[in-house]
């Protein structure tokens, strides 16, 4: 098993310790061997052993979420509707990695169309957590999280509409990065909620996140929204922060957690950051507004989803079930092709947009979104970074139908606050910090929109300090993986 970082693998490739082909085959074999337990892979890809060149990613194998269009490779979205769909076009982020000679070896399991936080919304069933395969990875990018956490590949791509990269990363004990909206092109990424969607990265160290992000990002003529800013060189400009920062937390958000383990971890985090010379600042936001976050997210994401998924009629591509006329055929195709859970979300969206409801749901949702943006703008006037625990609980044991009891606030606010990052278009990283009873826990760090480099530089500082010494129970997860998949 090549449980190494990108730079370590590059050393091996350059020193001819292993060939590109060998490396990719061995990684693919690891995936195949573990997949019985992880259920993380939808399809393995025939690959070409591209040459190692100046690019740090050349010859490096990776796994792609099966939601990103790849020409001549099945791109199924874990959905019955697209189970046979082979796009004749590429997602820009895939092209960008191919241009670096990175090697896609497989496409990973997910909640269909990114709709879900459990990876249960998949025709293949859930992907499993390498630390305990009874437990879920979270979703929607569950498969990508699992294979990086199991050490099969150094990095994998996911997409994040609410928390679909960051939460699976947290549950699986790896780093998850969600860039500011529009930093990475969305062309060829099957959409869920377009104004929230953003491709992100799973890896096991900050360097690897920065290397991959540097390759991924940049204006794309095929994605108008990406044209508003210039390409950034995240790895080239990666430099551990060495200045004291103002780091804030929203008291009302933290108060909504009810898991003592997590709350203690957060206390340690504050102490640790303080010990690094940073200034920890308590901030406030209306609890009502925080509570609105989940509803606003669902109304906006699912409204956009109703139109984003309206192309799935079976007429010019995808599953086609013929019935007595065109209309009935469309209904039959969608009925069979989309999961019950997806249909429920589309129903929420359609109801939110219905003429009679639109003012009270979709339009109001947009207004509250603006209110949330304005509130965060104010907070970011006072602090550089916002911190919080990722979630109120560890990964859930879906195989035994585990239900983790928690308060309403914990359920509504604490479990869903990561989606606020998407609502305001900001960037966020989740870094695992604790291990309790063999399960990883993680913290969330967020910076304002387009401060991605700043956030990565901070993460680098955070990582460097933990590499030197643990702080109480906070440990370094640098290149950490599940040593044994049970």
């Amino acid at each position: 098993m090549h449980k190494k970082t990108i730079l370590e693998l590059r050393e091996d490739l350059l020193n001819n310790k292993i060939s590109v082909e060998q490396l990719a085959i061995e990684c693919q074999n690891d995936l195949k061997q573990l997949n019985d337990k992880l259920n993380a892979i939808n399809n393995y890809c025939d690959f070409q052993a591209l040459e190692v060149n100046d690019s740090l990613l050349s010859g490096i194998p990776y796994v792609m979420k099966d939601l990103v269009a790849t020409k001549d490779y099945l791109t199924t979205s874990s959905s019955m509707m697209l189970n046979d769909f082979v796009p004749q076009y590429n997602g820009t982020i895939y092209n960008n990695l191919s241009n670096e000679n990175a090697i896609m070896i497989a496409k990973s399991n997910l909640d269909e169309y990114g709709m879900g936080g459990t990876n249960l919304n998949s025709i293949h069933g859930m992907s499993c957590n390498p630390y305990d395969t009874n437990k879920g990875t979270g979703g929607s990018s569950g498969g990508s999280a699992a294979v990086v956490a199991a050490g099969c590949v150094p990095f994998a791509l996911g997409t994040d509409t609410g928390d679909s990269v960051r939460k699976p990363a947290a549950y699986c004990g790896i780093y998850g990065y969600k860039p500011s909206w529009t930093v990475n092109s969305r062309y060829g990424v099957y959409p869920y909620g377009s104004s929230l969607d953003q491709p992100g990265v799973f890896a096991r160290c900050v360097d690897d996140i920065a290397i991959v992000m540097e390759a991924l990002n940049g204006p794309d003529p095929l994605d108008m929204s990406s044209l508003v800013h210039e390409k950034e060189y995240f790895y080239k400009n990666l430099k551990a922060n060495d200045k004291p920062l103002k780091i804030g937390y929203i008291k009302e958000l933290i108060d909504s957690f009810d898991n003592e383990i997590v709350l203690n971890q957060f206390e340690e985090l504050k102490e640790f950051l303080s010990s690094l010379g940073h200034n920890i600042i308590e901030l406030h936001m209306s609890k009502d507004l925080l509570r609105c976050g989940r509803g606003v997210y669902h109304v906006i994401a699912n409204s956009e989803a109703t139109s984003n998924l309206a192309n799935l009629t079976g007429i010019d591509f995808g599953l086609q079930i013929l019935d007595k006329d065109v209309k009935q055929s469309i209904i039959a195709s969608r009925n069979k092709g989309l999961s019950k859970y997806t249909k429920a979300r589309l129903l929420i969206g359609a109801l939110s947009l219905k003429e009679a409801n639109k003012e009270n749901y979709f339009e109001k949702g947009k207004k509250i979104r603006t209110l949330i943006i304005n509130n965060f703008d104010k907070l970011f006037n006072e602090v550089d970074i916002l911190i919080a625990p990722c979630a109120n609980s560890r990964a859930v044991d879906y195989k035994n139908n585990e239900v983790i009891p928690m308060s309403d606030d914990a359920n509504i606010i604490a479990e869903n606050h990561l989606s606020l990052t998407n609502l305001i278009g900001a960037c966020g990283i989740t870094i695992p910090t604790h291990m309790v009873d063999g399960y990883p826990y993680a913290m969330s760090f967020m910076a304002k929109p387009y401060h991605d480099q700043f956030l990565l530089n901070f993460a680098k500082e955070f990582e460097n300090n933990l590499l030197e010494n643990n702080y109480k129970n906070i440990i370094s997860f640098y290149n950490k993986y599940a040593e044994e998949v049970k």
Binding site: P87, Y190, L222, S307, L353
Partner: protein, 476 residues
């Protein structure tokens, strides 16, 4: 009982662009089905729209010629419905923020002029083309994503004639400004007519019928006339008027029910998240204005007021933009406006019609025509020779008028000495006619002139010869 007819018209007009509204695939009317299609047009998962700048410029031009207020923040919405001609399951359009609002055009009904308000101009994309057969339907996705503007009038038209004039005026303007081919028969301009009746003096609108997809101006007139009769009959017989969507059947010249409008369709409009609100630069607005040539009404005014053409001639030229372009070009070389118009309307059009040629393909260039006319007026060539030269231009595919005249020896003799030689020779040989003239028989001049033409092979300047001959005759 007489009713007031209330008419409003929605027009869909395809914009002249090389590529589609939101994708790089080609726009082409005549191309083989499903050849101008890419994954964006097919609405495949993950594809995104990229706005066609040229289409926005064309829409801006339309806003200028219709005197619209322009919203420089470009915003789009999704109009959602399921239909096989709509690949994405929604159409990208401008529901909340049209690019143009609050405009008008003026129609000239001969007896009176009238302003017809244009409420909205919106940018949107066309759907695929469905061709229905008995038990199957074919889909051509070529049209899918073609740039469109929707032009929505107010309800101020009051007769079929006004409606027809409105569409025709608007169509000519779009063609003049090079915004669209605006060919109704090819579907690049499509009309939906809303029509209702109400008692004169009533403020309230009656129940309206929408007639879909009328494909010619004359069908608009016929359909409206039929609808007026149909609706009057229903109202007068106290039957219930339903709001309906109808189509016009050309054979029976009747409108035929397509569907009842039971309630309004809920299109679940919402903002298009992939096109973030985009500011149109002032420069783009100004530059698009510069592209606009004189509009037909302005050109007509120029011809009548500045060129002193009569309204009939002026209208003939204005109604055909190619003819007008040719005429304008010729007039830029010469100010013999009336003579050039005369030649174009008589000789020119006769030749074009007879040979079924478009004026754009006529061999004779405007500058050559202007030169020919000038030479004729200056007496260098005769009107008869004008015709000969035109034939030679066509035969020899040669626009060098001067060389033709030289080569065919058609230059008129205009120097006095040479002409006097011919006059004296003829007078000497026709003493009787000279005598007749002096005895008061004016007709004798004709005979003498004829003789002069004969011996000079028709090359003497007739006007000058006439003057000189009279002078000579009166001398003795």
């Amino acid at each position: 009982m007489n009713f007031e007819v209330v008419i409003g018209i929605e027009i869909h007009c395809e914009l002249k662009t090389k590529t589609k509204m939101f994708s790089g695939s080609k726009v082409g009317f005549d191309d083989a089905p499903n050849t101008n299609v890419n994954e964006i047009d097919l609405g495949m998962p993950g594809t995104l729209p990229s706005l066609n700048k040229r289409a926005v410029e064309q829409a801006l031009k339309a806003c200028h010629i219709f005197h619209m207020d322009i919203d420089q923040v470009l915003r789009f919405d999704r109009k959602c419905y399921f239909y096989p001609d709509l690949t994405k399951g929604y159409q990208i359009t401008q529901n909340d923020y049209p690019i143009g609002t609050n405009g008008y055009i003026e129609i000239d009904m001969d007896d009176y002029k009238k302003r017809i308000g244009i409420d909205r101009v919106v940018i949107e994309e066309d759907t695929a083309k469905l061709t229905h057969f008995d038990d199957y339907t074919l889909i051509d996705y070529n049209r899918c994503g073609t740039p469109l503007i929707e032009i929505i009038s107010d309800a101020s038209m009051r007769s079929a004639k006004e409606a027809a004039k409105y569409v025709n005026t608007l169509r000519t303007m779009l063609v003049y400004a090079d915004i669209s081919d605006a060919k109704m028969e090819e579907g690049s301009l499509r009309c939906d007519v809303n029509i209702s009746l109400r008692p004169f003096g009533s403020e309230k609108y009656g129940v309206k019928t929408e007639i879909k997809n009328l494909n010619s101006v004359s069908n608009i007139e016929k359909a409206i006339d039929f609808e007026i009769k149909r609706q009057s009959k229903i109202i007068l017989s106290n039957e219930k008027m339903d709001s309906e969507t109808r189509r016009f059947d050309e054979n029976s010249k009747q409108t035929i029910l397509m569907r009842k409008k039971d309630g309004v369709i809920d299109y679940r409009f919402h903002s298009e998240p992939n096109i973030i609100p985009t500011l149109i630069a002032d420069e783009l607005v100004e530059n698009s204005k510069k592209e606009i040539p004189l509009m037909p009404a302005e050109l007509l005014e120029k011809y009548i007021n500045d060129y002193q053409l009569n309204k009939v001639d002026a209208n003939i030229i204005v109604n055909d933009q190619d003819l007008a372009n040719y005429y304008n070009k010729a007039c830029s070389y010469s100010n013999n406006y009336q003579q050039i118009a005369n030649w174009l309307i008589s000789e020119g059009l006769a030749y074009l019609n007879k040979n079924e040629i478009n004026i754009k393909d006529m061999i004779l260039k405007p500058e050559a025509l202007a030169h020919m006319i000038e030479l004729n007026i200056d007496g260098v060539i005769s009107s008869k020779q004008l015709k000969q030269i035109f034939n030679i231009v066509n035969e020899e595919n040669n626009n060098d008028i001067d060389s033709i005249i030289k080569k065919h020896n058609m230059m008129m003799i205009s120097d006095k000495e040479s002409i006097l030689k011919f006059i004296n020779q003829v007078m000497d040989n026709n003493m009787q006619s000279v005598e007749d003239y002096r005895n008061g028989n004016d007709r004798a001049i004709k005979h003498l002139l004829g003789q002069i033409m004969k011996i000079s092979h028709g090359q003497v300047n007739p006007k000058l010869t006439n003057q000189l001959l009279i002078k000579e005759l009166n001398k003795k």
